[in-house]
Symmetry: C2
Subunit: 398 residues, 2 copies
Amino acid sequence: MRSANLRLSLPKRILDATPPRRIITGPRFTPVVQALPSIVPFVAPDEIERSRGQKFSVRLGANELTFGPSPRAVEAMQAAAATAWMYGDPKSHNLRQALADHHGVQPLNITVGEGIDGILCNLTHLLIGPGDKLVTTKGTYPTLNYFVAGKGGLLQTVPYGPDDRQDLPALLAKAWEVDAKVLYVVNPDNPSGSWHAEGKIESLIEGLPPGCLLLLDEAYHELGVDFDANAKVAVDDLRVLRLRTFSKAYGLAGARIGYALGAPEIIAAFDKIRNHFAISRVGQAGALAALLDQAYLHEVRERVRHARETLGSIAAQHGMRCLPSATNFVTMDCGKDGAFARLVLSELTERNVFVRMPGVPPLDRCIRVSCSSDEDLRIFSEALPGALKDAERKLGSK
Amino acid sequence: MRSANLRLSLPKRILDATPPRRIITGPRFTPVVQALPSIVPFVAPDEIERSRGQKFSVRLGANELTFGPSPRAVEAMQAAAATAWMYGDPKSHNLRQALADHHGVQPLNITVGEGIDGILCNLTHLLIGPGDKLVTTKGTYPTLNYFVAGKGGLLQTVPYGPDDRQDLPALLAKAWEVDAKVLYVVNPDNPSGSWHAEGKIESLIEGLPPGCLLLLDEAYHELGVDFDANAKVAVDDLRVLRLRTFSKAYGLAGARIGYALGAPEIIAAFDKIRNHFAISRVGQAGALAALLDQAYLHEVRERVRHARETLGSIAAQHGMRCLPSATNFVTMDCGKDGAFARLVLSELTERNVFVRMPGVPPLDRCIRVSCSSDEDLRIFSEALPGALKDAERKLGSK
């Protein structure tokens, strides 16, 4: 660039006080950002496919609803595509009104975000500053941990309980011990598939330390055993925020619509900091249509239940135990340690079957397989014995 | 809720140290968030329509591309809708590769966000902590100001120059004076429509104080007079980050795809804090198809140019002057002060014509009208004389 230097137009007092030439320096990131690691654990299936130079035969690792969303949702998105020159409504008014009717609450009890991840990001902005503490289970859904680190917060973890479920008494004790600003509970849980009944959650809320928010991630709620379509949601409690999504049971992971249900005082705070125009118009239309097609949701629940049973049978054929699941995935205990499960996963990947596994003991003895069609599960079932056998062989040769 | 209190399961040392009953308290927001105002200036056209109980006849206030996106983009989104059960690729790999080819850069020079707003949000997270300073023009695109406040940063402004353009020497002097971490320049500018030639921007970069990032918001770039489809973008400079979007010239405001072009060191920092799964799969498909249809973009440029001329003629018929525009809107000087322009705007709204106006002097003497079809502009043209007349009358009676 050979251009005149606008610096010469500066007032004399600035020119005199600063040297005319200098080394080019980059932006000054905040101290919190400077301390963040460069590597993030977000290896998407698309990325694995690119690095292997091959498409997966089945995509059973991201807990997506392979059955697809309601055909009405697809139609609504296709119609909305032609109107995509307009910004989406920053208030997501129609969707929030429909959600309010559905849950028996008011629109002011609901904020919509770019998936639950978007709400986790905003929630940490609201509550977590450098040194603030958040309590979670070691090995549960990790994206919140990433956002907490991004705000300079401190993660305090407790291990899974002996029954592979989140250990509510231990979580509560830790929250008291560290004066946590947030207690994060995933229910039903990912990656274990386990759940706690609503009564246990109510009891947890009653025991919370003062000023600690229970952040209840209910991404898989509609697929749970306790799900009741008519159950209203209590939203008058300042101690709890519930997160729901259209990415799982409603099959719209690619539309990026999650929402939070809570007291107006908490919901209103999101409007102070969120990206108001972040939600796509097409996604809003799809989510609304999906919500209104509850018959399809019930069909999905049946298909997921069937797939869970099928996966249970497949596992049993190979002497593997499945953890009880209230989600659209099944966590299969490979019967050995994490090293073995990682080999099984690697062998399945070699066979173009995309599944994932929990990253942390004790659950890392398992692989996690998403529910899908009989045909998809047949492909998984055919790949599994060879994968187990080769994993055994490689483990032995180590 | 009549449930057992899980608190009774707490270790004795915690039970003994804390009172058994207490008042329910809400979450503990960070000090920065507590200080934020509750009211945000995001009144969308949808919201105005709801509050008036009537749809607008024409939507000329949000600088959307009323001509719509490329038909190929619509087709691509419609096809992608059926695959919306899959998460979008968190790396936006295909889109970033195509953008890299288009701009003659590498994918590692590009990060994709939820519109430019999403990138503004993330950029403030990276650079602005409590007390950090950002320099901008008073009255230019305000969303960045909102995100700066959300991080506790301090805004330092300079007024528009005497020619209604951003005053580059004054901005530079202010950046030196306050040791700004970021200097924000919108080019072409919103809401004035004015622009600075690339040479001026290069000169500004050469004059920047050390460690100050020039954040160059080029949302309207493809509609500018200096636009050259073949112009490559320099991305090796640590002092500048350029923002582009599919919301304006590409007509995909509702798809929420913006991107930043810059040095790899800056681009990589976004991956430390951004919501990796925020971009919708449908939007990614639409943006890619829109980018590949450059013929349509050139058609759009011609239609926008025609509409700018038409709006100039309409204004001239009423003795109004239009500011020169390098965007898809025209800023019309109503010839009096802000009070009069606000009356004109209000009268247009009463006539179901949606336009906006700059909020800050000296530009608040103007209204801002988006380019659109001849038919839309005819409706505007028919509403304008009555609006001007009634505004004059109301101003006189004040």
